[in-house]
């Protein structure tokens, strides 16, 4: 991936341990003209975030082997924190929602979600981020 950010093509960093879901989301995002960078765990996600800060959006699953989404959220530092962070969770637990919000997540979406709903959320978060 190149560290070039084109305004018209928002770049999304996607972290999900389930291959099928990850690929599906990537496909849908790409179809909607997003550039997608895929990670399969928290360590990769944090590494990508550290080396490149040109992402417009992070979409991450919370429960992943090794470093989980909440921990990545917590370890963000400096400019990294400005990138909106959408959390996906299947645990639907209010405590997890609260914790993710406290750590600065822009939005939390419960699995299973509707793809259109996800795309709306992504567009909305990107727009809000651009305005800021």
């Amino acid at each position: 991936m190149e560290a070039v950010c084109l305004d018209l093509t928002p770049r999304v960093l996607l972290a999900e341990d389930d291959k099928e879901l990850r690929e599906l989301l990537a496909l849908v995002l790409e179809n909607a003209s997003y550039e997608v960078c895929q990670c399969s765990n928290g360590e990769q996600l944090l590494a990508r975030l550290t080396e490149q800060r040109s992402f417009n959006l992070v979409i991450s699953d919370i429960r992943m082997p090794g470093l989980d989404g909440l921990e990545v959220l917590a370890r963000r530092s400096g400019k990294m924190q400005e990138i909106p962070f959408i959390c996906m969770t299947a645990f639907g637990d209010e405590r997890i929602h609260r914790r993710a919000r406290d750590l600065g997540a822009a939005a939390i979406i419960d699995k299973p979600f509707d793809l259109d709903e996800m795309m709306e959320l992504v567009a909305h978060v990107c727009l809000r981020s651009e305005r800021n």
Partner: protein, 492 residues
Amino acid sequence: MRLTIKITLAILLGVVLIFSVYSYLSIQREREQLKRNLSREARHIGESLRVIVTELWQQRGEDEALGFLLRANQGYSETLVRWVWIRENSPLSHQPRVPLAHLDRLRFEETVTLMAASDEGYDFLLTYLPVLIPGEDMGAIELTESMEEMHDYIQESLRRSAIVVAALVVSGLLLMTVLGSIWVGRPMRKLRAQAERIGTGDFTTSVNLSGSDELAELSSTIERMRGQLAQARDAEQAAQAAKFEALEKLRHTERLATLGQLSAGMAHELGTPLNVIAGRAKLIAREGLPAEDITRSANIIHEQAQRMTGIMRQLLSFARRGEARKQPVDINLVIHAVLPLLEPTLNKQQVEFCVEDTPSELLVYADAAQLQQVLLNLILNGIHAMPAGGKITLSCFAATTVTVPDSVANPDQSWACLQVTDEGSGIDPEVQQRMFDPFFTTKDVGEGTGLGLSIAYGIIQEHGGWIAVDSVPGNGSSFRVYLPLACRGGAA
């Protein structure tokens, strides 16, 4: 029947005793009467003879008088009449049969009557009538009456009494045997058979004796008792059945509660494939997708649906409580059945799960579903003991040296041991004492029923085993489930 004979004999003995005393007294009375009669008779004869002898002695002299007495004997076959001198040194033919000392009263001119026995043993009634001849020594007329006739009469009376007694005994025994059998023996046999039936738990047959005697009363008492026992047994059986049902319901509830604990993990497990399926379906539904992408999406949908089916099947097979059935079960199979159920929860709680080397086959005689529940409860407890994650180690082995608790019914057998060790906070000794009590829980309200360990303990106890705990607070806990080892194809 023996009782009838005893009562009969007692009655007969009484009757015989009374009859014998009555007979004895009767015979004695008759004997006295006879003696008095004989004595009176002898006196009358003696009186007559005395008058004649006195007259003859005074008018014709001693010889004529004594000769008369000798002749008088000829008229009396039984009575011997003699003249005796009441003095010492009289000739033998005129000496009294008894010593003179017994005849003192003759000197007061009184008639003397007494009994004497001959040398041969015959009894005699002797009557002496004093005769005073002026100028002569004192003499007397001796009348000897043999008592043989009276003896014969008494003998006959005794014989008749004996016959009557014997007849009484025989007829009494016969009658009581027949009537005793009808009145006592037969009903007693019926009552005994009924008591034995009731004793063996057969309350179906009723026995009612007709009549109003004690045995009939006893039979109706036994009938009442039979009815009450049958009622009590029915009530006890119903209570037992209700208890079993309640226990079974409670266990099922606990299974569902365990499922509830697993459900958060399962939701994650189901949520992801569901997301993929929904998304892929949506992709297909959009127009303009290349044919190969449609095929690929359909295949992914199929795979994800299969993955969900597998998870659902495991959940259902655990939730569904089939007929409790004990059979030889390999503990390894039980472990492998619970692993997929636990995996999501283990992942969620970041708990590493490790199954240590186990024998290729370790058979126990058990209900596999119940054993699964026990294992799930123990592992879930371990997971809850490590809120910050950790490691749970599971191992099973044939235990060689075991200290069997006193509460175990069959301590002499081989044991299989299933051990669950966590790295959690450990259990206080105080909690260890109460942890198997129903409704005892250290978890927050809504997080645990407090029944899991109690039910696990009950299940293992029902399988003839026990659960042991080793725990050092701060250093983790180790639960060991001991079960009797089974051989393939048979009970333990």
